[in-house]
Symmetry: C2
Subunit: 193 residues, 2 copies
Amino acid sequence: MHPLFKYINKYASTLISEKDFEVFRSHFSEKKIRKKQYLLEEGEICKYFAFILKGAMRKYYIDEKGVEHVVNLYIENWWAGDRESFVMFTPSIYHIDAWEDCELLLITRESILELCRQFPAFNELLLKLDERNNIATQRRITSSISFTAEKRYADFVDCHPYFLHRFPQHIIASYLGITKDTLSRVRKKALKK
Amino acid sequence: MHPLFKYINKYASTLISEKDFEVFRSHFSEKKIRKKQYLLEEGEICKYFAFILKGAMRKYYIDEKGVEHVVNLYIENWWAGDRESFVMFTPSIYHIDAWEDCELLLITRESILELCRQFPAFNELLLKLDERNNIATQRRITSSISFTAEKRYADFVDCHPYFLHRFPQHIIASYLGITKDTLSRVRKKALKK
DNA sequence: TATATTCATAGACATTTGTCTACGTTTTTT
DNA sequence: AAAAAACGTAGACAAATGTCTATGAATATA
């Protein structure tokens, strides 16, 4: 079964038919990108959201000192894109690139709106995704403002173990808002326990 | 015009009639709570989302040392509640209380789902709110992991000037993930510029 | 009005985290 | 196979932030 078909039927309460799925699929375009290639660069408008069939990606922000700050990590069955730019048609402040070679399904804003009109199940899917996303980001903010680096890392290991063997430590450190050096110390301390 | 009526027609693309609004309103119950009283306490399930007609509220998390960490601030025309608990029916880790005397409109999860079924405009409204919320939290996470305390405060003053005269500095400091002492230093430094 | 509480700031000191350099290992590229 | 790049750790030092105590002003409460 196609991963996207599986994915949609996993989240929507009413299953869609194989036939409907073909209409669905026609709104997506396949794209393969190689490691280190960009899906989105700073200053561009995010024209596509990407459903990841295979591979790993990251979204990051480069500050005025040239330091990269990883904002999101993505693997299979996740959506990658900059929502703000995608919805508002404003230039993005983020870069999104492939950390591993990727197979993606791209979709435009217009196609999303069209699919929502045509398939209530898709609309429902998007509502649920936003809901989940809101819950997850709320947790991340809570963790970010109230936990120590040590606890944030422990929390990360608990919640996202599948990221541990896909991204190196300096990327995870950046995602947690700390430096690789601090993460290295935190890990050393944790080992002693 | 009723503030909620105004609010709905501001965000939905199709206007709702005065008559429809009465159906709408019947799903909300009015509640007044006084300063320091709780809308939600830790361990409870969040049964109501609150639309704030008047007043100011805050959501916070209390860590194992007993320290309060402010996660959200709310004023008129904002929605207060814990989405995770509201949707998943799990005990909340947050407290929500009134910082000023408040007038609220409460609505249950069932009523929200019912209104979504009955009024596509309401469904659309919720989608847009989630979209905006996602964009805002994304920005907050970016700020939190990549900005210094000084920049985070400057950013806060830019984005939420209306909070400045509603909440004292130690609350704002907590919202920014720093102590009141650090915020005091940051402000002192900023004055010199 | 008197009293208690909240609030903002300050300074001294401790702790955490960042910065930088270095090194050995592993992985990737040529 | 050789060279280059990426990776993780370590230590020395610097900077940022937290902790604690104190104080005076503003605000709320009795």
